[in-house]
């Protein structure tokens, strides 16, 4: 949770609100995608420049966000991710059987998007077995236009985050991790 502290004040308060319904739920094994400790210790403290860059969007969000909390809708949460974590462009929440549940406002509405995420996660889970593993933690699509990070949320949902290659994955992860349990069952 050290990463959380690195975020600007405004977003920290959002985090705290958003995290309330999550307390005591990190037991779900599919949410244990935390970067290996090696990566964690190597992480430098958030550079001053990124705090500066964050200040503007966070301040802009401060007004219209009384919605965060147990009843917050997932769309607002995904928009918050796009606005608060630099280089994140869009995010989609889908059911594992391919229905769209929420998407950030920056994402167009295409029926095939959630279906493709479901198919990719379905296949990736089988590839985990090929790799000798048991549990899929993360699927990364690394392409010339950026990165797509896809996580299973519990047994029923999938979250995809579209970002520029330069994104600080650690920050996306900590944002999502803090809300994963909630997103895995939030009403669509």
């Amino acid at each position: 949770m050290q990463e959380v502290k690195a975020l600007a004040d405004g977003s920290r308060s959002l985090m705290t609100d958003g995290r309330q319904p999550l307390s005591g739920t990190p037991s779900d094994p599919s949410l244990t995608w935390t970067a290996p400790s090696r990566a964690r210790s190597v992480m430098p403290p958030a550079p001053a420049s990124s705090s500066v860059a964050l200040a503007a969007p966070v301040a802009a969000m401060a007004a219209p966000t009384p919605s965060t909390g147990p009843s917050a809708d997932p769309t607002a949460m995904l928009d918050e991710l796009v606005e608060t974590v630099e280089d994140v462009r869009a995010a989609i929440l889908a059911s594992v059987d391919g229905f769209g549940l929420a998407r950030s406002s920056s994402m167009s509405d295409e029926a095939s998007h959630p279906a493709m995420l479901a198919a990719a996660i379905g296949l990736a889970r089988q590839l985990v077995a090929m790799g000798g593993g048991e549990q899929l933690r993360q699927l990364v699509i690394d392409h010339d236009g950026g990165l797509m990070l896809v996580w299973p949320l519990g047994d029923e949902r999938v979250l995809a985050v579209l970002a520029a290659t330069t994104v600080e994955q650690r920050r996306v992860r900590s944002f999502v991790q803090a809300r994963a349990a909630w997103l895995s069952r939030a009403a669509s």
Binding site: S95, S112, A115, A120, G122, E156
Partner: protein, 183 residues
Amino acid sequence: MSAQTFKILVTGPFAAGKTSMIQSVSQTQVISTDVFTSGDESDVKSHTTVAMDFGTYGLEGDDTRLLLFGTPGQARFRFMTDILKGDVDVVAFVIDAEATETHAAAGVELRALLRDLRTPAVIAVNRCDDVTVARRLARSLGALDGEAVVPCQLIDPDSGREVVVEILLTLLASMESSKAEVA
């Protein structure tokens, strides 16, 4: 037929019996991508295929092998059919005779697929015991007169094997006709 591997595309609407068929006939462990259904679809069944099923079937004493690629059934997963349909030798189109509400869309899909692939098809009419009924349904979906039609009960593994036999016969026939064209 010897030392040959054929690719079979097993497709058809949601809940028609595609995964059941592959699971009942495959001689290797089926790679499947079943997940829990949600919403209205959970009223129909508890699980659904989201990417593909993959199974194999080999003839004893022969090197002939069928690779069975099953698609998801819902329109939102159409891109998987597009991915899997390359170099297909036979299309096995599975349809549930009793799920009449799926038939119109299935017909559109079958006709488009056959026009596109130009491969022979086997129409497996699930939950049906009557050849005449099965043929009539297949024709209404746009199957050609020469297309093989198999009434089946895919909940029963033996029934799945009858579909495989039709697939093998269809392969044999298409090989013979292509040989005749060459000659």
